[in-house]
Point group: C2
Chain length 327, copies 2
Amino acid sequence: MQDIADKLGLSKGTVSLVLSGKAKGSRVSEETCRKVKQMAAEMNYQPNEIARSLSTGKSMSIGVVITDISNEFFGNLTFHIQEQAKKYGYTVITSNTNESPEEFYDAVTTLLNKQVDGIILVPVDEGQEVLLKIMKRNLPVVQVDRYYPDIKANYIIIDNYKVSRDVIEVLIRKGLQRIAVVCYDINLNALTDRRQGYIDALDRHGLLDPALIKNINYENQEEEIKRAIIDLKNNPDKVDAIFFCSRRVFITGVKYMHREGIKIPEEMEVVCFDEIDSFSITNMPITYIKQPIRKMGEKAVDILMEQMSGIDEIKECVFEAEIEYSI
Amino acid sequence: MQDIADKLGLSKGTVSLVLSGKAKGSRVSEETCRKVKQMAAEMNYQPNEIARSLSTGKSMSIGVVITDISNEFFGNLTFHIQEQAKKYGYTVITSNTNESPEEFYDAVTTLLNKQVDGIILVPVDEGQEVLLKIMKRNLPVVQVDRYYPDIKANYIIIDNYKVSRDVIEVLIRKGLQRIAVVCYDINLNALTDRRQGYIDALDRHGLLDPALIKNINYENQEEEIKRAIIDLKNNPDKVDAIFFCSRRVFITGVKYMHREGIKIPEEMEVVCFDEIDSFSITNMPITYIKQPIRKMGEKAVDILMEQMSGIDEIKECVFEAEIEYSI
């Protein structure tokens, strides 16, 4: 600004008034405004947003903390968050937790130090303290995909229980009786609700068999899913279908079903919790649960912006997911 | 800091010395240091990084501008960039261009205003001015996946020409003669090199047929890929294989091959430029080109950090990709 002022023989205050858009109604003439703007363009002037942040107290950035950006579900979610944030003039700082409470803590601490104006996060197991830390600062925060039921805070989830129960009911109506579930053993409602929906639907029809419930450790997933598939194949009573509770579990599970020579759908049907954009490269029917990812991402940003504008009513959003069929 | 100083009856300057890690060798006693740190912890003190940025001139953030974070290739690339940046203590601000030069311009302008310390970007067609704008500011920048050959700037790419030529040679050695290519018509070297590698390999063996080259418009891709597949199916001389030059083209192409009842690999073989983590859900052999995504992402950050530390030698990195076979 000083350079522009020097070139035009004006004071820095005048230049600042013009470039911050506050010249209207002031003593600065239109002619001067025009000259300042032209010189600013010629000199490739860019406002220093860091200095501006310090005076306005706003960084115009939001933080997004997800499990893993290379996972298609979170990639899609982040895409829609970014596109929606852009409409409000906000940029997005992203970090991965890899389901680790330590990485979750570090990611949030960094964002707080960066003075982001709000945070959208996917909770991890045992991460309640981190959410409370954000709230203690009165910083707007929205949980997505999962939430901590003990904490009164904004969240956006889908009705995991209902859609899981419904999809199992569909399989039962088709005549399938021996239905297995393969699910992470993570103690978060998104996953426990999916397993419980499965359990309740089968139990209602007297078809529940605990031997068909396979809980998978996240860190050792490849090996454990492989073992689960072999175990289900060798079950003395033929298994009719497998409900995979998330994307990666499905991909790994179907890989081992192929390796074990299990014919899909002739010998076993498969259900995937989530849509995968490459379903179409397989030539087999897949029942899947479609989450409204775009709506979830956009709504998360909308709620965050509302809270940033001073509305402090807690929003608990539960969207419905849909059951779809590929092919 | 003032609050901490007041509570302990110290000057703000003393507190600042301790909390900025500059107390060692100063007049401040160890006992005072301990007290300040303890009080800072009790009062939940967090450094204001915006204020710190203004004094150090460093924001400790880098910008990453990619085509589309929901695309698995870019999701993976961003993941490895983020994890590597984290090791250096940097956070990452991400934006999507959707292959649009306007969005590319907007994304970079926003990052410049945010005073990021460096930018990693995936060039878009007709976006040279944007790269030049960054360089004019002397801000470190690294191009990934593609580059502008007319501009002397850092880049990390793979040898698209060589690996494409090689994969076609493999098919020819297997006895396939009528090989088609389906490729975006985007005028960027990553894509033109893939097409050219294909052309030169076939030409060398006298097998080139222009009717088998299908150029696809990015915005209208679904419809154009569908038409290309139908056209190849109806070619009077049977087509033996299709080389799909990128991930989305492959997924859409194989979908329409299934719909048209084309048996893979019995009637036509397929080659995918890129690995897809869900290849394993299909039960068919796919030849694919595996890019060293992790190495590319990590190297991009390493080069950026070198440049930020004052090394201004231009780095032009060309990694080799590998040909792999699924199943």
